[in-house]
Structure formats: structure tokens, C-alpha cells
Symmetry: C2
């Protein structure tokens, strides 16, 4: 549960990112979440299940209503994974800079 693959799968879908975005402005019920979307309530319910399985969302059942709340914590996995590659794009920037530096040195 909440393995990197699950989290990446979850956030790789635009609708699910949109849901997370919505939830970043506060918890909401399923129907409320679904409202702005051009898809059935059921589809949203499925997306929520995926997000929940990835740990990105927490569900508090209150009678017949389900209160859905954002849970950012699993994104740490993504953050850590990306961070491991940070050096590679920075390194590329360095090469870029070196390129100009050496140009300047040759033509001062």
C-alpha cells in the first residue's frame, strides 16, 4: 500500500490530479467532488478508490455521506524519487554554463 507505483499511477491521471486540486481547497463529499466534472458520479467514485488505495485521500464515513480529505504524505515518495534525479538536470545546467564559460574564456 502507498508504494511509489501506486502513487504515480494515481497521480498520472488528469482527472485524479484535478480531484486532488479540488481537495486542496478543503474536504468534500463525493457528490460535491463530482459536480464540476463531465463524468458520472460512479466514475468519480472509482477515481476516489484509486486515490484512497494510494493513500492520497482519506475517507470519513458520516452516515450516508462520505467526507473525503486530502492526504499529501504519500507524495513524499514521488518527491524523493524525483529528487534522486535532480542532480541530472542540474548537472545539465552546469554543462550549459560551462559551455558558455569556456566560450568566454576562449574569446575574452
Amino acid at each position: 500500500m502507498d508504494s511509489l507505483s501506486d502513487v504515480l499511477d494515481a497521480i498520472s491521471h488528469p482527472s485524479r490530479r484535478a480531484i486532488l486540486d479540488r481537495l486542496s481547497r478543503g474536504p468534500a463529499r463525493v457528490t460535491q467532488i463530482a459536480e464540476p466534472f463531465d463524468m458520472s458520479l460512479n466514475a468519480v467514485s472509482k477515481h476516489l478508490k484509486v486515490l484512497e488505495a494510494a493513500g492520497l485521500v482519506r475517507r470519513e464515513v458520516q452516515g450516508r455521506e462520505h467526507l473525503i480529505e486530502l492526504r499529501g504524505e504519500p507524495l513524499r515518495l514521488v518527491s524523493a524519487w524525483v529528487q534522486h534525479y535532480e542532480q541530472y538536470w542540474k548537472q545539465q545546467l552546469d554543462r550549459f554554463e560551462d559551455h558558455f564559460k569556456s566560450k568566454r574564456k576562449r574569446k575574452p
Copy 2:
């Protein structure tokens, strides 16, 4: 090209992450990349196309060989997206701490 969706799609597949990992230890030809994998060369070739379309990989054709090189830069998009949610998991940590702090205050 190199939109967030493309990049997330690209990295959401374990094999493609494994390929990126391999490339983080230096450029390689397609056959070399494919070698440790338990799948056909063609499958790897397809994965490389996905990575290339997302801008995560650069291809330098040298005669009949294709030299594949990691390009980390598009990951900045992911980094930025995740960073936007960082506050939410930190906020949750804060709530956690507050919980303990208030407990301590009530039972000093």
C-alpha cells in the same frame, strides 16, 4: 511535448523507471538497455519512444547505433507539481505535533 501528463505517464511505468535508473549510470545503446530486461528488444524500443516523447531521454543516432542519454529536466514539472502539495503533508505533520503539544499542555 513534455507536458506534465506526458512525463507522469512516462514515469508511472516500472520498466521505464528502471530504464531511467539504468541511464542515470551513463548513456547506453538500445540493446544494452534491453539486455537486463526480461522482455523483447521491441518492447524496450517502445518504452524508449515514450520516454523520448516526454523529453526524459535524448537519442543520438550514430550510424546503426542509437546512443540514449538521460535528460532529467522534464522532471522539474513533476517536482513543481509535488511541491505545491508539500504544504499539505507538512501541515498534517504540524497537526500531529500540535496534537501532542496540546496533550502535554493539558497534562503537564
